[in-house]
Symmetry: C2
């Protein structure tokens, strides 16, 4: 049992966006080790089909198991929407995604029951946020909108920019007219343009970043399963390991802009072999 | 020899953009059969590394060979930039990319020797257009600019749009100040926003779409190798076959917006198996 408690948590994403979830885990449960995998050779997932996303996620879970992780976090909304249920059935490890925690906190935050969700085409097409939210509060109205350009704008680094603002104006116009009271940032890239989204949608709308709640849910899960690391501050020098499926340079640059942690040990693997 | 002449031409791209090249081949050599493969499960290539793009392209060539193609066109600037040379060495089939034809026609078109290239990060990073152009005309000045948002804007369908125009203004500003006389649309998506690019860059700049010249080069190659199909207009009912690596629906929609041809027989394959 001692060994399991010290084992790392596996976190994966289609690319770099999941590092916003890693950042929250580092903040909230700093005593835990993390093995991160970003599928940079096949990114993005948000425009791809359910079958493809499940196949890719299954390979990643197989890889993470070779790193002896004790639990898995799917730090990608699209993979959470499409693959979590299937992978939970196939895998004996505790596993959570970002969608349920995001839906839960949005339900609690919403005062008027009008909740907006911005996400990838895949996540929106799955209607999974709507399903979860209405499972918690059946009277909720949920408006979903795919915002595919946001990922490219974040990756271009145009975080506070008139063009990004114009794109946000167009994507969010309908939700403004519908007077939503809560908006879920349903893609891990979106928290990086939170201030632009805030400016466009207005001060009165609650913005929900599922990453925060996911880290809390992970902490509770580890405790409940009695696999949380209790050796506070006794983790070794490199508690975080980063793996990618495509060359690491671009990843490192982006990672260092998100994390207060120097990504020195990023390694590349061929995920198709898993 | 008879059978080889009737064999199809293999054309591949990271996704749908290569259909702009297929369109030109259909127009200029209508008597040829085509097998198209779009790697929609791993698209885009333009942000990925040389090694990954070569590995993916190699798998695609293996797949196309199972379809008994007589020649291969790499209808993707990034794959042409990174993988053409390696694949030509490894493969016994005649093979061309889009970069050399694009560079050649730009050299001819340029009156003042100032040529701009807009393309993906990968193509720009390879400096392959500059290399080819300066190989043809050493005194040429070549200015390269990565325009990653253009692909997303095309896929969003915002072809003639104030936001696309604002993005083009920003990307092309420096080239305008440098007074380029010729501009290569160095990514197969870009011809779809040609009118917006034209509006921003001005009437006096020659816009080069490598697809057109690639189809001409292909026609000449087939003749030279004596593998051109001489049975004019005698091709069977379905002369064009389309394959993708991810679910075909999205592909069909986009394909039908590019081609004057009903994509009814698109099939999905698992490219990782090749």
């Amino acid at each position: 049992m001692y060994e399991v408690r010290e084992a790392p948590i596996g976190v994966f994403d289609s690319g770099v966006g999941g590092l916003t979830v890693v950042r929250e885990i580092m903040r909230q449960i700093p005593q835990e080790r993390i093995v991160y995998f970003g599928d940079t050779a096949r990114v993005p997932y948000g425009t791809k089909s359910r079958d493809t996303v499940i196949r890719y996620s299954r390979q990643i879970v197989r890889f993470l198991k070779t790193r002896n992780v004790k639990a898995i976090v799917i730090a990608c909304n699209t993979a959470s929407a499409y693959a979590l249920e299937t992978l939970q059935e196939e895998t004996d490890l505790p596993m959570i995604g970002v969608v349920k925690p995001g839906a839960r906190v949005a339900s609690r935050a919403s005062t008027g029951g009008k909740i907006g969700v911005i996400a990838t085409e895949a996540t929106v097409g799955s209607h999974i946020y709507r399903e979860y939210i209405q499972g918690l509060k059946p009277e909720s109205k949920v408006f979903e909108k795919a915002c595919p350009l946001f990922v490219s704008l974040v990756e271009e680094g145009w975080l506070k920019d008139p063009i990004t603002e114009a794109v946000a104006q167009r994507y969010l116009q309908e939700m403004k007219e519908l007077h939503i009271d809560t908006l879920i940032l349903g893609c891990t890239h979106y928290p990086l343009i939170q201030s632009t989204v805030r400016k466009v949608i207005g001060e009165e709308v609650a913005l929900i970043n599922p990453a925060y709640e996911t880290a809390i849910e992970l902490r509770e899960l580890l405790k409940r399963e009695k696999i949380d690391n209790q050796e506070h501050h006794k983790i070794e020098k490199n508690p975080y390991e980063f793996f990618v499926s495509d060359a690491a340079e671009r990843f490192k640059t982006f990672a260092n802009s998100i994390l207060d942690y120097d990504i020195t040990n990023t390694r590349q693997i061929n995920i198709e072999e898993y």
